[in-house]
């Protein structure tokens, strides 16, 4: 597993509140990038399944031009997600390592590519309109995750 700078967070730190806080901080450092991608309205859960019946969930909130981390989600109904991307831990780590190694997701490791066949990742939603928001904001989401491929992205 590759890592970034010696004092930086790495893929090994995923998933954690610190990891999500850091990619959100990177987004806030580059408001012009996200502003050019346009407004969004999306409450997304990143679900990491680590063992049968055991999952950790982290919330991301896209609101206008703002992107915020909602931290680890314990009360899912209270967070009221539009959609959830769920995958085993190893699939998330493979995606992140690929982004890190290539400076951005390659052909087979974009969020859309990994979710299209519903294996290894799935986008689920109680309401298909919530699921369609994933498509409406896919470039923003990909830019957010691709930011870990930027050399300074996860530096403290």
């Amino acid at each position: 597993m590759s890592t970034l700078q010696a004092d930086a967070l790495s893929v090994d730190d995923f998933p954690s509140e610190a990891w999500f806080a850091r990619i959100v901080a990177d987004a806030k450092d580059r408001p012009e990038v996200y502003r050019s991608l346009g407004v969004a309205s999306f409450r997304l859960v990143i679900e990491i399944t680590e063992a049968p019946g055991h999952a950790r969930r982290f919330g991301l909130v896209l609101d206008g031009y703002d992107i915020d981390s909602a931290g680890e989600i314990v009360d899912l109904p209270a967070f009221a997600p539009d959609a959830t991307i769920t995958a085993p831990l190893e699939a998330w780590k493979e995606m992140l390592a690929n982004i890190e190694d290539n400076g951005g997701a390659d052909r087979l490791h974009s969020l859309n590519a990994l979710t299209l066949a519903e294996v290894p990742m799935r986008v689920t939603a109680a309401d298909p309109m919530g699921r369609d928001r994933f498509f409406r904001y896919v470039e923003t989401l990909q830019t957010l995750f691709d930011s870990i491929g930027r050399p300074s992205a996860l530096s403290p």
């Binding site: 346009g38 590519a113 299209l116 066949a117 519903e118 309109m129 369609d132």
Partner: protein, 373 residues
């Protein structure tokens, strides 16, 4: 001044500073309503306040007067034919319009054309045929709303504005796929008679209801799934970005179509059978698309990475896309209040792996694809 006649007496008085000021003194619209910007600026939702935000179920007149203004009796009738809110409305219109305006992109500036690699000739052929098909079908989603736009009452201006963004979006999609076909040296491929029969069905629709169901829900839902597949199959970062950006636009159009149909059916549930009949017709042609070589084979070659590999794997990738197309479409139909799981008309072989019901005679649809060709 009455009915546009030239009032030279008024002109002389005004030259001398004797103004009429009726427009200021006796205007009957609301004064003192101050719309306040929200966090992204002053949005359509922000200005939907007081009487200005009240969209009538039936437009009281057929003029271009901005909703909420003081309308004089001698404003001419524009002859609008869509004068009921339910005919065009959806509850997400304002959000979608703002999003569309904010998320515009340029096929000239925002695609990294200089990074387009030289592809294997078979891959370039496949990509160019794919781009030809998309450049061919996308413009209908400009033509259809444009055909109906002037018939929509101005009281539903938010719907008209959203459709204008769709027209621009689809022009850009036509542009970007035409550019992709020409940028790699392969050029444009074959036009598709089957696809154009579907486009004609949309354009010839006898009502906005019919055309919108066929286009916003069925066709754009299909194309959204095709864009998703295109992003996966993209041979280079150039196509990857094209498909992602197009996907975002298309998802807005589908979101409008789904929620418009829902609104329409909530207002008049008796229309459900009409909508089923429209979609029956559309699905019959879509079934043929799934067996059209110029549409299926380019995707298979792009997915496999070469013609030789595709000949070994067949339609594995296309089948994944077909399954997603069907499932996502059926989910949207459910959301719109028009469940079609037991009614979908694709042949049973094309519904394998989906949740659509298959009748005992072996066909989910009552018409075989071959009957439509």
């Amino acid at each position: 001044m009455v009915n546009g006649s030239v009032d030279l007496d008024y002109y002389e008085r005004a030259k001398g500073g004797k103004f009429d000021l009726d427009w200021m003194r006796s205007v009957r619209s609301e004064w003192g309503i101050r719309a306040k910007p929200s966090k992204t600026g002053l949005t359509l939702r922000d200005i939907a306040v007081s009487s200005y935000g009240m969209v009538p179920d039936h437009a009281p007149r057929r003029t271009m007067a901005p909703r909420g203004c003081d309308v004089r009796d001698d404003v001419p009738d524009m002859g609008y034919t869509l004068n009921d809110k339910a005919e065009v409305w959806s509850d997400n219109l304002m959000e979608l319009y703002e999003e569309a305006v904010s998320r515009q992109w340029s096929a000239t500036r925002d695609i990294p054309w200089s990074e387009l690699p030289e592809l294997d000739p078979d891959l370039e052929h496949a990509m160019c045929q794919f781009a030809t098909f998309l450049s061919e079908v996308e413009m209908v989603a400009s033509d259809f709303p444009a055909k109906w736009l002037w018939r929509i009452n101005h009281d539903f201006v938010e719907a008209k504005m959203f459709l204008c963004t769709q027209i621009m979006d689809e022009a850009r999609h036509t542009e970007v796929f035409r550019k992709r076909a020409l940028a790699g040296g392969g050029g444009l491929g074959q036009a598709s008679p089957v696809a154009e029969r579907f486009l004609k069905l949309v354009l010839d629709a006898q009502s906005y209801d019919e055309g919108s169901a066929l286009m916003h829900l069925l066709a754009e839902g299909l194309v959204l799934s095709v864009f998703r597949a295109g992003e996966l199959l993209a041979p280079s970062p150039v196509e990857k970005r094209i498909f992602r950006l197009c996907m975002q636009d298309e998802a807005r159009h589908v979101a409008y179509g789904t929620m418009h149909l829902r609104y329409r059916l909530e207002e008049d549930p008796s229309l459900a059978e009409d909508f089923h009949a429209y979609l029956d017709q559309g699905e019959d042609i879509i079934a043929v698309l799934f067996t059209t070589p110029a549409i299926v084979e380019p995707a298979a070659i792009l997915a496999a990475g070469s013609l030789k590999a595709a000949e070994e794997t067949g339609l594995v990738a296309s089948d994944i896309v077909r399954t997603r197309v069907v499932e996502e479409y059926l989910d949207r139909c459910d959301r719109a209040g028009l469940p079609r799981r037991e009614r979908m008309r694709l042949p049973a072989a094309m519904l394998a792996g989906t949740s659509a019901g298959v009748s005992e005679d072996g066909g989910a649809g009552s018409i075989a694809a071959s009957q439509v060709v």
